[in-house]
Chain length 381, copies 2
């Protein structure tokens, strides 16, 4: 058997989640083999058939044998090892890269039950690095968040920090969810410094929105949607009144400002980041000697670089879909940061990452997916 | 059975280590019941008999039934639960407080094998909080380190940050060991915010030195000593030449400056902190309503508030013990910070913590213990 007989795979944890599933499609379309580890605590196995459906419509020429799925909890290292021994080592397959999407993501829940968040978000990441070490996996991409930048509007001279740059030195996340993301970044940085044959990319997401342009797949959490646009879409269908948390922020209209990025752009960012890490490869002795901490550890913002207020989004939703959603302004919520907007210069320069979709596309695609989804629910009944 | 029949215990993790063992003695002398969990990776079971020996000499009136020891690895939650179910719940004993000393502490080793450090130092702490939650344990003291303050001499206006104060906002530890300590602090803070019936004290140690004034117990690591004074003491016995790492720091004599604290003062600080947490008790609804983050989460420096250079220490060693140790200055070592000196105002004010021993006492006690130790080794041969 030669090296060429061994089939390389990218492991996507949480690959049936919102961002994971869209990235699976992109990777398969770029001829990567993909294996998904997902414990289905906040995703559904139906998403796997939706991925297959999109692929059969958009890329009928591709065979389906490059996609594997295992239901496994990342906190159980032995369970993951058992799968890898049986399905990879035992079958001439090899995991060469990990894209680590899996994790809990509710700020409110993290405030109430921090141990749950440290367990899920931190212990899982540590276990994945044990796999990296045990199976010589070379590339690692981590789903981080703009939350790690903390609330810079509380700093002296906030304008110095905006838009948010990757190299901001003081990062004080204001909730346990943000802390777990920040801590995993430190873990990955420390590990990268110890292993020259490893490349890690931290992707700091701003606000992912929209759905696949085919409208056959989109966000589908097990629980109530937590983010603004999915709530708007749901409430538009259900005719409920949207709560806008806080109308007294120091922004143009008093509501929080976020940087919204279309899921198609965001998932493409992962492919670009993986390509970059593959190109960089192992770091050399001379690079090590320079002690350049960034040689194999990289941080990239994935945002559009434009800030919209909550009221902007409500207006754009109406304009793009023709649907008027009712809203009321209620008091602020714990854990919300006033403004989060990305500086996108570094991702553009290093990854060639430029957003191709805008807010209008995102609203229309989300509405297309929501309508498709509600129709399919009716059909099921 | 009434509540009064249930015997309260303080759980000391790593209770056979250097700081742990000295604190066990203090707690028993203050009539606390103590249970030690230690996996003996960097401590020896003989320390238990040394503790008994000091107690029988200094406090012969005390019975020995208030001290329990179990060899257990804190990374194994189920093993700890099994001991608690069998030895506590089943025997009318109850753990009311935890003092968490256990952890790996070599900066160099942490740079080479960060996963080991995150595993030992973080996962263990998370497991202990799961015990806190399962068994309603109310007080928790964590052995943190001055390392969490990072290298403030690299900041703009370093003098603003010195001496180091507990509320320094920007904390960027410069090695994985420091990151794991900082990470556990965040975990404990997040957990304290979620549980009003819990009080946590973070003790940030500066440089613990010396030995018990009886000279019957002191530091006794399994591996080579890593800290300056134990190395000086060993090399004085073995007639070896001491390496001083870095003579070109921006300090009065070019060598690093540290804040040295006698082990007797440091271990007394733990008793004071525990008393404080016991007095504070559960936080009330009105305190919660104020959202004062510091109501049940506290950070205290344990240092003397005085900085000595490496060369100062060598001179003081000679002066206190009459022993001249040879040294040579070699290049700097990775991960060393130029200056670490505590601001002790907060510990003094809130805990009544004032150091009673000085550098001379520490040198003499360390030399007394080292001589006792080398003699006992000879006797064994």
């Amino acid at each position: 058997m030669t090296v060429a007989d061994i089939k390389p795979y990218v492991l996507l944890t949480g690959g049936l989640g919102y961002i994971g599933s869209h990235t699976v499609i992109k990777l398969i379309q770029r001829h990567y083999n993909v294996v998904i580890f997902d414990n289905l605590v906040n995703s559904k196995v139906e998403t796997l058939s939706r991925i297959q459906e999109v692929l059969s419509v958009e890329s009928p020429e591709l065979s389906n044998d490059g996609l594997l799925f295992f239901q496994v909890d990342l906190r159980q290292l032995d369970d993951m090892k058992e799968i890898i021994e049986r399905e990879f080592v035992g079958k001439n397959r090899r995991i060469t890269s990990i894209i680590h999407f899996a994790g809990l993501k509710s700020v409110n829940e993290s405030v109430k039950d921090p141990l749950l968040y440290y367990d899920y978000n931190f212990v899982s990441s540590l276990n994945l690095l044990k796999l990296v070490q045990a199976y010589q996996i070379h590339h690692f991409i981590f789903s981080s968040s703009a939350t790690v930048y903390g609330d810079v509007t509380k700093f002296e001279n906030p304008s110095e920090y905006l838009p948010l740059r990757e190299n901001q030195t003081t990062k004080i996340p204001i909730n346990p969810y943000g802390n777990t993301k920040h801590l995993v970044e430190r873990l990955l940085e420390d590990y990268a410094n110890s292993n020259p044959d490893f490349q890690v990319g931290i992707l700091r997401y701003f606000n992912p929105i929209g759905a696949h342009p085919s409208h056959l797949i989109g966000e589908d959490p097990l629980n109530e949607p937590l983010n603004l646009l999915p709530i708007i879409a749901n409430y538009s269908k259900l005719n409920k009144t949207l709560k806008v948390y806080g109308g007294d922020y120091q922004t143009k209209d008093g509501t929080c400002i976020r940087d919204y990025i279309h899921i198609e752009d965001l998932s493409r960012g992962h492919v670009l980041a993986l390509n970059k890490l593959e190109l960089l490869g192992p770091i050399t002795i001379s690079q090590q000697a320079e002690l350049d901490m960034t040689v194999n550890y990289h941080e990239w913002n994935l945002g559009k670089g434009v800030g919209y207020s909550v009221l902007d989004i409500i207006k754009q939703w109406n304009k793009s879909t023709g649907i008027q959603v009712n809203y009321e302004i209620v008091p602020r919520r714990d854990g919300d940061v006033e403004i989060l907007v990305a500086d996108v210069e570094k991702s553009e320069k290093e990854l060639g990452f430029i957003c191709q979709f805008d807010l209008k596309d995102a609203c229309q695609d989300l509405w297309g997916w929501t309508s498709h989804y509600f129709n399919s629910l009716k059909l099921e009944k």
